[in-house]
């Protein structure tokens, strides 16, 4: 048990564990998958060609692994009213567990939980690190991916 850090108000600390409402469902469609593939310069035929995707074991055009982060309405740390004295934020990192394949025709929903808010003394001053976790669920109620990301506020 560490001492409460006065840099993070009790009001902000109390938000840890809070979740957004479940987001609007998003149908995974092949045009958006193609846009993702174009954005990252992917040549993977399973993202563009149905026969190739089926040969790779998918039931239709395959979605790239992190597609849910890209296109499914999800929450981020900014959605929680953090009331920090530092305002500039950059994304510090991303982490995903990939549990089940995703393909066109799936319908995904996301729900995001604020998992931590901590204060650190950085080389250039005070930093606040916010951590949030998003669970993505398909139309069968299966969790297909869990994403954890951090925001760095200064």
């Amino acid at each position: 048990m560490t001492e409460p850090d006065p840099f993070i108000s009790a009001e902000t600390r109390a938000l840890v564990g809070a979740s957004t409402p479940v987001g609007d469902p998003r149908l995974v469609d092949r045009n958006t998958i193609r846009q993702f593939a174009d954005a990252i310069g992917s040549a993977n035929p399973a993202f563009r060609d149905e026969a190739a995707a089926r040969a790779a074991g998918f039931g239709g055009i395959a979605a790239p692994l992190s597609f849910p982060i890209y296109n499914v309405p999800n929450g981020i740390d900014r959605d929680f009213d953090l009331k920090l004295s530092v305002q500039r934020r950059v994304r510090g990192g991303d982490e995903c567990e990939f549990l089940l394949p995703i393909q066109e025709g799936d319908t995904l929903t996301a729900q995001t939980t604020l998992t931590d808010v901590t204060h650190r003394k950085g080389g250039t001053g005070d930093l606040v690190i916010s951590t949030f976790e998003t669970r993505y669920t398909n139309q069968r109620g299966e969790v297909v991916m869990v994403s954890r990301a951090t925001g760095v506020w200064r």
Binding site: Q35, F36, A56, I69, Y70, E95
Partner: protein
């Protein structure tokens, strides 16, 4: 299915792996990313606004770099492999024109029935030799 599937027995701790490269990243690619992701923070596509905020140019979104790492891992590992988990940390900013080279080092191997898990530390290097992103990944490979 990609024929270039790697198998678990090929890997040992300390081994270095070239995962591939992506880029040069164009503003058109960044526009595709902004449009599909709904991340309309102007620092990712509006150079005037990026410069006004003191940035050197528009900035490649972190999750876009994460997606390129995952794409390299998938291409490299082949169709019988599964990427189970991956992460990135963003240490610095990357701008249009960047070519990312993805390399990995095996940090652990764990045999399982029918194959095994390979844990990788990942380094993302730009064309100037600078590392603005690091990461890790766990893959399951067939025997």
């Amino acid at each position: 299915m990609s024929p270039a599937t790697h198998v678990f027995g090929e890997f040992h701790v300390g081994q270095e792996i070239a995962l591939g490269s992506r880029g040069p990243i164009t503003t058109e690619m960044m526009a595709h990313w902004a449009a599909g992701s709904g991340d309309f923070n102007p620092i990712h596509y509006d150079k005037t606004e990026a410069l006004r905020q003191g940035l050197p140019d528009v900035i490649i979104a972190g999750p876009m770099k994460f997606a390129m790492l995952l794409d390299c891992l998938t291409d490299w590992a082949g169709g019988q492999a599964f990427v189970k988990q991956a992460r990135t940390r963003y240490l610095g900013m990357d701008t249009p024109g960047t070519v990312f080279t993805f390399t990995a080092k095996v940090v652990a191997v764990e045999p399982l029935a029918g194959g095994g898990r390979v844990m990788l530390d990942v380094t993302v290097t730009n064309q100037e030799g600078k590392v603005n992103t690091t990461g890790s990944a766990t893959l399951e490979l067939p025997a």
